[in-house]
């Protein structure tokens, strides 16, 4: 780069021309390969988004978004209203569980645990838990909750499974945000005689709040798109159901079951539901990223 400036002298030097053809060819080849990788990865991903938007837009209208599910999957009528309601109820319940618990656990890790062995173990296990497949979370809640509680298949069971999925994500992002809060803030609070718990609640958490919110929203977005944990936990419902105790349905579950049937009308409904779900998820994660970018703790 800088070598180019010495080109005018013309002597054997560090200019580009002094690089042997073989080396230059290898450099060009590598650059081309990198661009190829970029194209080959983004092309199919672009196709996916294109198909979802183009096929989804043709299906979505006011009736589609609000009507109850059709009695016959084959039929052309019916909408996905109950599935939208179900996704909101189930994901909302999961967030109410996982976000506060995750923040508390992260506070322990960063403010109390530090490098103690217990904290190291919890941190390690929460990374491991983040890698547990979502379908296993569904089986777990099926075996421990659906089989033994009087709710059985219910929105609550689905929410529990999603909460298990969200917990490690919330812990990880919150801990990262707490680490960014400068120690001076804590010291200043201690110097004023504030107790440790009070310092955390009134000084540390507010300072990290934007970052924590963004992490929590990312976890919510991830949970809202999940299907596998819901398969064995929420059961099925055709009607609107705002209660946690009864069987419910969700957007992701509707996409899956409609796609499985293969009927053209069902596939259409699946595309419509997919676009609705993507808009919901991208909205959440865009808000999260904008929040994180704008209010990053310095």
């Amino acid at each position: 780069m800088a070598a180019a400036t010495s080109a005018p002298s013309g002597r054997r030097s560090l200019t580009r021309s002094s690089i042997s053809p073989g080396r230059r060819a290898r450099n060009t080849l590598a650059t081309v390969l990198i661009y190829l990788a970029l194209t080959f990865a983004l092309l199919p991903l672009g196709f996916v988004l294109y198909h979802v938007v183009s096929k989804g837009l043709g299906v979505i209208d006011g009736a589609f978004l609000t009507e109850e599910l059709p009695a016959q999957v084959r039929g052309a009528s019916g909408g996905i209203g109950p599935a939208i309601a179900g996704t909101l109820v189930i994901t909302g319940f999961a967030s109410l569980l996982a976000v506060p618990l995750g923040i508390l656990a992260a506070i322990y890790l960063n403010e109390y645990g530090g490098k103690k062995p217990v904290a190291a173990v919890v941190r390690f296990l929460s990374n491991v838990m983040a890698g547990v497949p979502s379908i296993v979370m569904g089986l777990f809640i099926f075996t421990i909750y659906v089989l033994h509680s009087k709710d059985g298949f219910s929105g609550r069971a689905g929410g529990l499974a999603l909460a298990c999925l969200m917990l490690p994500i919330v812990i990880r992002t919150t801990e990262a945000m707490l680490q960014l809060v400068p120690d001076e803030l804590r010291h200043a609070a201690y110097a004023l005689g504030t107790s440790k718990s009070r310092t955390i609640v009134t000084v540390v958490l507010p300072a990290a709040l934007p970052g924590i919110t963004s992490g929590a929203l990312l976890a919510v977005a991830r949970a809202a798109g999940e299907t596998a944990p819901l398969l064995f936990t929420i059961g099925a419902s055709r009607q609107y159901n705002w209660s946690l105790s009864d069987p419910n349905t969700a957007l992701s579950a509707q996409i899956f079951s409609n796609a499985q049937t293969g009927f053209p009308n069902a596939i259409d409904r699946a595309w419509g539901a997919a676009l609705t779900l993507i808009v919901l998820v991208l909205l959440l994660s865009t808000i999260a990223r904008v929040a994180a970018a704008r209010f990053t703790v310095r």
Binding site: L14, R24, I34, V132, I135, S195, S252, L282
Partner: protein, 323 residues
């Protein structure tokens, strides 16, 4: 940091602070500790609860649960080998596609792209990571699998003419195959592997890169001499995390793998992975059949835990060295 500063105020606190708040202080501390230990409790409960429900099938089959490939629920045969194989085969195909692409994108973002393009690319990759897997599955089953047989035919038949390669492809029956599933999974794990390798590449000390360039290295020589050696451990960790994710991927695979029960190395033939078999059969299963499916979950849980343990320790070691 926080740990080292904590004891100092606590020591002086006893004289200055009244008894009440002190107790509240301890209470809060134990509350957060309990939340942390919840992770441990949940992991232990997952292992215990799923294993307990899977016991009937384990007891019926014994070691055959892992070593037999005959899965016939109505005859009481629960051999999972074909699905374990399918899980690894699909993950392997996914990694073959995703790893080079991810490394390429990460190199583009960290070494080639101007700041503006870098931000945009990062943003796009992050958004793609947020696309739900069921959406990829829908695309796979109603776009990819429809177009696939013709495409497979056109690449398969010339290549199959080469002696020895014919066995690697097989018949493109309906587009639902190991290859389709692997390709879809590759799309899903690419953003994950990219974001980790990107972070790892970013930890390469600027001085090493500058030094390589100052010695007259081309950009590629700089990457090969400074960036890649520095990032090797982190890249292995990223691939392992991607593998863990690929093995657990359920919904998309369930839609495009075609639910076969045979062990086959043919890319175009249908098969099944652990997770996809659970998803496809659970609705109709009862009794020992259901506990067999939960048993598949236990096997999958154990496999992903092992892969993730390896990945986390590799990544932890890599970042410790970098920090």
């Amino acid at each position: 940091m926080a740990a080292s500063t904590a004891p100092a105020p606590a020591a002086g606190e006893s004289r200055l602070v009244r008894r009440g708040p002190r107790r509240a202080d301890d209470g809060f501390r134990y509350l957060t500790l309990a939340a942390g230990l919840l992770v441990l409790a949940i992991l232990a409960l997952i292992a215990w609860s799923t294993t307990k429900e899977a016991l009937p099938a384990f007891r019926d089959e014994g070691l055959g649960f892992l070593t037999s490939s005959r899965w016939a629920p109505n005859e009481g045969a629960f051999g999972t080998l074909a699905f374990i194989y399918g899980t690894f085969f699909v993950s392997l195909i996914a990694l073959v596609f995703a790893v080079p692409a991810s490394i390429g994108i990460a190199l583009f973002i960290t070494q080639l792209a101007p700041a503006r393009v870098r931000t945009v690319t990062t943003f796009v990759m992050d958004l793609l990571a947020a696309v739900p897997s069921v959406v990829f599955g829908l695309w796979g089953v109603s776009v990819l699998a429809v177009a696939a047989p013709g495409f497979y035919e056109s690449i398969g038949s010339p290549l199959a003419a080469i002696p020895g390669l014919g066995r690697a492809f097989g018949d493109p029956y309906n587009g639902k195959s190991f290859l389709s599933a692997g390709f879809i999974v590759a799309l899903m794990i690419t953003p994950i592997i990219t974001s980790i390798t990107r972070d790892v590449f970013d930890t390469t000390p600027g001085s090493q890169k500058e030094a390589a360039l100052a010695l007259g290295a081309t950009r590629w020589e700089m990457i090969r001499g400074a960036v890649l050696p520095h990032s090797r451990a982190g890249m292995i960790g990223a691939v392992l995390l991607g593998l863990g994710r690929a093995m657990g991927e359920t919904i998309a695979v369930a839609l495009v793998i075609g639910s076969g029960s045979q062990i086959s190395a043919e890319l175009f033939s249908s098969g099944d992975a652990l997770a996809s078999r659970i998803a496809n059969e659970f609705g109709e299963a009862t009794g020992t059949w259901r506990s067999g499916l939960i048993g598949l979950g236990v096997v999958l849980f154990a496999m992903t835990i092992l892969v993730n343990l390896a990945a986390n320790s590799v990544v932890a070691r890599a970042t410790k060295k970098a920090g």
